[in-house]
Structures are given as structure tokens and as C-alpha cells.
């Protein structure tokens, strides 16, 4: 497992990325590597740029400078050195290499649980109806929802919807899975079932980059934690190091103290 050092090329290589929304600079030359099979958690106060960073990785957001590479390939821009945005088809193909799970699930309400998973398999991966269906059923089984294949999202609980959201993302066999605060919109009693799915994916060796407020989960499931503040990567390290109460990093200590005060 890579620890972000340069001995093996990282699967995800974010290098010197900056981005502004108007006058507000949300990312300030952020660099970050995620190795194959690694699980990296991004924590930090709201407004620190965590979610924006994640959305840049699959180019839901563009960025002003720097580069983001997955498996050595530039995600959003053509490899011509002119920072020319990729064309629509090209971009879609690149995005299919990453999976994303959203805070608000974003399931397609007009499709069943299986239909949600099958759409990308059919239209992007070009699989037959039967093949897509069997892959969808396999993943629904993995997330414990085999019996809900033909339910519409509106008929599922939040935790169930989010598990379908995860199944929809991983069924595409992405190189990396991006998780954007996936338990933040859930009732507390439903968080556990979703995290259990993420943990089992991690055990399978799925590469993941997750923005999370679940410190205990970040500690247990991730190999490294990235602490972001003010659009910068403020600290990176193994969970034990980052979440240590006696850290000398003032910014991190304040964040953790405030976090502990409000969550424990």
C-alpha cells in the first residue's frame, strides 16, 4: 500500500490545484496522492474546500490551475499542454473511470433500484439488458438490498437509498470511488449500515477518497487522513497521528477540539 511517497506512481495524483469562485479562493495549490487500494479520508471545517476538491477529481467542477491525473491521465483537460477542456464524450468517458456517491444520494427517482444501477452499465459500458441486470443484482446483494431491486427510490429509507447509491457507483467498476459526506443526510441510526458497506469495499481493495465528518470511521477505515483548512492541505498522515489529541498543529487541534465538543 502506497503512503503517498513517489516510489510507485499514485492512482490519483492531484498536483498544485487551485480554484476560485469569483473572489473567493477555495483551493490553494492543493497536492495529494492516493495509491491503488488506499483509503484516504479528507476532514476539515466546512468551507475548507474538501467537497470542491472531490468534485474536481471527476471534473464536476473545473479548476483554474494545476493538474489532476488518474492512472497518469489528465482528467478534465486535453493532454496538449494548452489546458483545453476535453470534449463532451471524452469527459464522459473519463468520468466513468471514477465513481461518486453523494451526500443527498441523487438516485434517479423514475428508475427502480436496479434501474439506477443498470443505466450506466447499459449506456456507458454497453452491456446487454440481462448482463446489466445480473450485475445490478449482484451489487444490490452486496449492499444487502437484493430484495429491493424493483423498488423505486421513494419506497426506500435514506440508508437504503444511499446503499443503492454506492452500488450504482461501484457497479461501473471505477478505478477510484469518491464519497462526499455520504452519511451527513442520514438519521443517526442509519449511518452504521452505510458505513458497513464502505468498510467491506475497503476490505476488497477499492481505492477511495472520502470527505467525511465521521471521525471514528475515518480513524478505523482509512490508511491516511488529509486535514484541509482554508483551501490548503494543512496536514496529512496516518489516522493515529492526525487525530492525536496532543498534536502540535494549532489549526488541527482547534478543529478536533471543536469537533469533539459538538460530537461527543
Amino acid at each position: 500500500m502506497s503512503t503517498g511517497s513517489n516510489d510507485t506512481p499514485a492512482l490519483l495524483d492531484v498536483s498544485d490545484v487551485s480554484k476560485s469562485f469569483g473572489a473567493v479562493q477555495v483551493l490553494r495549490s492543493v497536492s495529494l496522492q492516493v495509491g491503488r487500494g488506499e483509503v484516504v479520508a479528507v476532514i476539515g471545517p466546512s468551507g475548507s474546500g474538501k467537497t470542491t476538491l472531490l468534485r474536481c477529481v471527476n471534473f464536476l467542477e473545473s479548476y483554474d490551475s494545476g493538474s489532476i491525473r488518474i492512472d497518469g491521465k489528465e482528467v478534465g483537460f486535453r493532454e496538449t499542454g494548452t489546458r483545453q477542456r476535453r470534449g463532451e464524450r471524452d469527459l464522459a468517458a473519463m468520468r466513468a473511470e471514477t465513481g461518486m456517491v453523494f451526500q443527498s444520494f441523487n438516485l434517479f427517482p423514475h428508475l427502480t433500484a436496479a434501474g439506477n444501477i443498470m443505466l450506466g452499465l447499459r449506456k456507458v459500458r454497453g452491456k446487454s439488458e440481462a448482463e446489466a441486470r445480473s450485475i445490478a443484482e449482484h451489487w444490490l446483494g452486496r449492499v444487502g438490498l437484493a430484495h429491493k431491486a424493483d423498488s423505486l427510490p421513494a419506497e426506500l429509507s435514506g440508508g437504503q437509498q444511499q446503499r443503492v447509491g454506492i452500488a450504482r457507483a461501484v457497479a461501473m467498476e471505477p478505478k477510484i470511488l469518491l464519497l462526499d459526506e455520504i452519511t451527513s443526510a442520514l438519521d443517526p441510526e442509519l449511518v452504521g449500515e452505510v458505513l458497513a458497506v464502505v468498510r467491506s469495499l475497503a476490505e476488497d481493495g477499492m481505492t477511495m477518497l472520502m470527505v467525511t465528518h465521521e471521525m471514528a470511521f475515518a480513524r478505523d477505515a482509512s490508511s491516511r487522513i488529509v486535514f484541509m483548512a482554508d483551501g490548503c492541505v494543512n496536514a496529512v498522515g496516518p489516522p493515529k497521528e492526525i487525530l492525536a489529541a496532543e498534536t502540535t498543529n494549532e489549526r488541527l487541534r482547534t478543529f478536533l477540539a471543536r469537533f469533539r465538543a459538538s460530537h461527543f
Binding site: A92, G120, K123
Partner: protein, 216 residues
């Protein structure tokens, strides 16, 4: 009264067919143009958005009748001579297109941004996102005002009689010109228009029910 109606019916049949033909042309052409322009208004680059916005606001601000006279009597001034039938169809289509643009904008705009993002995230192209994610959801919102617009188109087609085209309305007027019996004929005309539009709204109610399973 029944004898007058029986006398008029054969004359009206041809006019009625023309009314249906004009309505169908206007509805189909405006649906195609309106959806394309509406997509341009919602997703297009700024210049296209402005162009569609100006088109839609201008057209909707002009009475259909003025628009129709403008196309028929005005355009020849710039060298565009349209036969009265096509001038009428063009004017009605322009008007309806502007409405369809607004229905589409409203319907597509009501779909949360997360739907597009989720569709992007699994690698769907723009067209695929529209076809499989956005339009199926927007359809339910689009349908009721659009069907209303279709009935408006049928009613509005009566204006083509003012360019001397023998639609149902004009046919009624011609029969009255011969018989001097206005009331039975106008009642008959009203009943025919009503029957068409009532059938349309029944059909739309069935369609809406079919798509009501989609909950937010």
C-alpha cells in the same frame, strides 16, 4: 335548426379537416423547435441563452393576430412572400414555440441539479443525460401546460380564417353568408371545437395519471 346543421355539415367537413391539419402542423413544429430552443435556453452558452430569451419574450409579448398579419403582410417587404396558409402556420408556430420554450425551461428547471451531476458521475454524455435522466423526470411537469397549449393551438387556429383560409371558422362564416342563419352555425362550430379540445384534455388526464407514479 337540425336541417340547417345538416345542410352545413358537408361544407364544414373540409374546413374542419384544415383546422386539424393546421393545428397538427403547429403543435408538432413548435414542439420540435421549442424543445431545441428550450434546451439552448437552459444549457446553452450565454449568447444563445440571450438570443432565445429575447425571442421568447418578444414573441409572447405580441398578440397572435398582430404576429400573423406581420408575417403575411410585413415579410413581403423584405422579399419573403409566403402563401397565406404557410404564413398562418409560421405565425402560429412562432407563437407556440415561445410557449413551449417556457414550459420546457420550467419543467427542466424543476429537476434538482444533483440529478445531472449523478448522471455525469456515471459517465453519461449530455444527450444521454437529457434522454435518460432529465427528460423522463421533466416530462411530468411539461405535460399539463403543454396539453393546455395544444388546446390553445386548436382554438387559436381559428385566426387563420382572417387570412382568407377556409378552416372550420371560415367555412362556418361562408355557410352563414349563404343562409343568414348565424346562431345555429356558431353553436355547431363551438360544439365541434369543444369536442376536439375536451377529447384532448381527457387524453392528457390519462397520460398524467400514467406518469404520476414518479414521486419526488
Amino acid at each position: 335548426m337540425l336541417t340547417q346543421i345538416a345542410y352545413a355539415l358537408p361544407f364544414l367537413a373540409q374546413g374542419f379537416a384544415l383546422t386539424l391539419w393546421v393545428s397538427l402542423l403547429v403543435v408538432v413544429l413548435s414542439l420540435i423547435a421549442g424543445v431545441l430552443l428550450g434546451v439552448g435556453l437552459v444549457y446553452g452558452p450565454a449568447p444563445l441563452r440571450w438570443a432565445v430569451r429575447i425571442f421568447s419574450d418578444t414573441i409572447r409579448g405580441i398578440p397572435i393576430l398582430v404576429l400573423m398579419f406581420f408575417v403575411y403582410y410585413g415579410l413581403p417587404a423584405i422579399g419573403l412572400h409566403l402563401p397565406s396558409f404557410w404564413a398562418a402556420v409560421l405565425a402560429l408556430t412562432l407563437f407556440k414555440t415561445a410557449q413551449v420554450v417556457e414550459y420546457l425551461r420550467g419543467a427542466v428547471g424543476s429537476i434538482p441539479k444533483g440529478q445531472s451531476e449523478a448522471a455525469m458521475a456515471i459517465g453519461l454524455t449530455f444527450r444521454q443525460r437529457l434522454a435518460y435522466v432529465i427528460f423522463p423526470q421533466a416530462f411530468r411537469r411539461f405535460l399539463p401546460p403543454w396539453i393546455n397549449g395544444v388546446t390553445d393551438a386548436v382554438k387559436g387556429s381559428a385566426l387563420v380564417s382572417l387570412l382568407g383560409i377556409t378552416d372550420l371558422m371560415q367555412a362556418i362564416n361562408q355557410v352563414i353568408g349563404r343562409t343568414y342563419e348565424a346562431m345555429p352555425l356558431y353553436i355547431l362550430g363551438a360544439v365541434i371545437y369543444f369536442a376536439v379540445n375536451y377529447a384532448l384534455s381527457l387524453a392528457s388526464r390519462r397520460l398524467e395519471r400514467r406518469f404520476s407514479f414518479i414521486r419526488e
